[in-house]
Symmetry: C2
Subunit: 447 residues, 2 copies
């Protein structure tokens, strides 16, 4: 396969005609596929239907310690679910607060509380002129939406395969007291599937923030979401590492069972130091009488323990793995060696990160859409929806059936080729003109 | 029965000795009873065990419109549950947002959002020097805890059997732009069981607040929680009344199924005008991907429709009614005509409000506790826990079995008599001394 950059203008023109014809053919197929969000597929959902059978009217809905799950009480979760989730989060049950159905909501709440009431006695952020968060990019759009909603200024920090650029993180965090947090998806990151290296985690635990109320927002969304049995990423446990480093209060750790059982009907949790938990419980006791204990019991009765949960995740992996491998195979077959795209090959999580040539991502996603395949909006993986290179596309292979996924990936490859050729043709024109007119300039990212 | 105030000093002294002996006897019974919170009893919880059977692995967890309740999506609730809850709240489904398991959490969230992001474009309360709420008293301690947590100044407004003192509400709301809300439990109020009169509701809908972002927090927690079949309170629907009065955005209405099925495993909701809902959905879409739709479906499949829900509430009433009647009977038998206490006789809800002589409530509750009966803390029904008369005690008859409840009520009566006699004896002493020493003064409410 010849790299596009090495092609002559005539070769590119011929290729553009060929690709345009192929694209029209794809449009004729009337596809309606969705690769936009990290949703489990129907086959994955079916894995958890047993959840609907573990509690019946013949069952006793009482906990081991006598708590009646049907009534009020038990603010931060029943003992059994704390043990299960603590094992999942690799922390002690005493470090865990069990919440409702959404870890996103817990993160929202954590930021909101910091704004209205401050962090462990520090000035509420709402009383400060400026509050900033570091955002490893590309990253998770819903994280960025929370900080944007609250008017928090977001600063991009580049991601590497080992995690965020820690030189930059250390410098910023130690010098600017208005930086109050950093969004992290440390394992099988969204969207790259990268896992933070041991060095990265150790450097996080040893941060010396200028702000006393700086916290690491450690969203361990994919903690047991491996694709392979023996080839798994492993992370140093951050809460313990912070404690060892003398920074016990530095981190909030978030997780949920949303992508283990049913999204929306799982259990979310936060793990933190005793000081942080004391601060948080003050709020929690005002906010609610308690979360859904019947559902907590349902989760425990279904998974039984962490081993049951891990075995359950193997079944998810058996469904997800062929999808990730199909996407990677087609990307390699169609785009390998062309010099117009790169992509990650994660060993877990829900996403593959795709990098087109600069200035092409929006147009590729738009072309996919016009041929019936919805991708995550280009730019969504950056704060304010602004990808400065307009190059990142998040691929979510989980939801479509395998055949549909293959079709959608082929369309993505085709659109990538087409948009890349068009870009190269435009760029070749540029040197011939004194001033490039706007319409011939490389595609710019919109506000 | 002779009123205590008409007794001679010797009669009071003799009575004190007799009551003290009775109290010691009660202490010997080693009671461990709880009349503190509005918790459903085990018999009531058993009514909803069928909830555990309506969804099994053989059932289709798909909505009428094709929404798969097992997966992500459907931010503000499935269509079926909106219809059910809208019927319960007496509004149109389009005016309803379905939340998680706790209406308290929805109210917390509503105040928090107003602080961080403001109400419909108005200045966020967090940027204002002073924010105040009106609090009809006695009222619900968890309401007051929310406004206290956020540093909102609370102003007491006296309750009457027709609702809050509307002259005072109108004057304050129309003159002070820092007043941003009022906490209301309009039907079978907590703790009195009063329901707002038609005139009260109409005056609420016609308020002319000085603050554009003033809202009525209408917590209709006991909307279908009647004790009697034919003798039920009825409320003018506030959302419709506000619309008719030209004030469509004036009210947030809250409700949940917590005391209909299982507390903590029910469905909470908010009803408001389209303008308010638009404002709220902006937040909601940042806060969560969606609430627990499987549980929404479970609620709908169990109750089927509002008629099913109302029939279900008759079964609750059959369990609750004898308890309320027993408490009222014992109070009348033991305290009627003594001139030392008054109490309400609600036709629904979860509470009876009890008024002792001034300065006696804390001591009565303390004496009950020493004899093994836990009541709601005296003062809890007032903002900051400060009952200026130290006279209000909330009776929650729902949880204990009938026999226990009768014992607990008898103890309450005994403690009331004892503390009242002691108070009268102390007061009689007062005129004899130039300056009453601190220990002889009437019990004062602590900070």
């Amino acid at each position: 396969m010849k790299a596009y950059a090495e092609m002559t203008r005539d070769e590119l023109k011929a290729l553009a005609r060929e690709l345009t014809a192929q694209y029209r053919e794809m449009q004729g197929k009337d596809l309606k596929l969705d690769m936009s969000r990290g949703k489990p597929s129907l086959a994955q959902l079916d894995l958890s239907m047993g959840m609907m059978d573990v509690l019946s009217s013949n069952d006793d809905l009482t906990c081991e310690d006598g708590t009646d799950c049907r009534n009020y009480g038990c603010l931060d979760g029943i003992k059994e679910v704390k043990e299960l989730i603590a094992d999942m989060m690799e922390v002690a049950p005493t470090n865990v607060i069990i919440y409702g159905n959404s870890s996103l909501n817990v993160m929202y709440d954590t930021v909101a509380r910091s704004i209205t009431n401050g962090v462990m006695g520090n000035t509420p952020w709402g009383k400060l002129d400026k509050v900033k968060f570091l955002c490893p990019v590309p990253g998770y759009d819903r994280h960025f939406a929370i900080t944007e909603y609250f008017g928090i200024e977001m600063i991009n920090v580049p991601m590497t395969p080992q995690g965020p650029d820690m030189d930059m993180v250390e410098e910023l965090v130690s010098s600017d007291p208005s930086i109050k947090g950093i969004w992290c998806v440390p394992k099988y990151s969204n969207p790259q599937g990268y896992s933070y290296s041991d060095e990265t985690v150790r450097r996080f635990a040893r941060l010396k923030p200028a702000a006393q109320d700086f916290r690491i927002y450690w969203d361990n969304a994919y903690t047991i979401h491996h694709l392979y049995d023996n080839d798994q990423d492993h992370l140093i446990e951050i809460l313990a590492e912070c404690k060892r480093a003398g920074n016990p209060d530095l981190v909030y750790k978030f997780a949920s069972t949303s992508k283990i059982c049913f999204p929306g009907s799982g259990i979310a949790a936060l793990a933190a130091s005793p000081n942080n938990l004391e601060d948080i419980r003050k709020q929690l006791s005002v906010q609610t009488i308690g979360h859904d204990k019947v559902n907590q019991l349902r989760n425990v009765r279904f998974f039984k323990d962490i081993h049951g949960m891990v075995e359950h995740m193997r079944k998810h992996a058996d469904i997800l793995r062929p999808k990730f491998e199909a996407v990677e195979r087609i990307l390699e077959e169609q785009l390998g060696g062309l010099g117009i795209a790169q992509w990650t090959k994660p060993k877990g999580g829900y996403f593959i990160s795709f990098e087109s040539m600069d200035g092409c991502a929006k147009e590729i996603v738009a072309r996919c859409k016009k041929a019936g395949v919805v991708m995550t909006s280009a730019g969504a993986t950056y704060p304010y929806g602004k990808d400065p290179h307009d190059s990142n596309i998040r691929i979510a292979p989980s939801y479509p059936p395998l055949n549909d996924l293959e079709l959608a990936t082929e369309l993505l490859c085709l659109c990538t080729k087409l948009v890349s050729v068009e870009k190269l043709l435009k760029e070749e024109k540029l040197p011939k003109r004194a001033a490039a007119p706007a319409e011939a300039a490389p595609e710019q990212n919109e506000a």
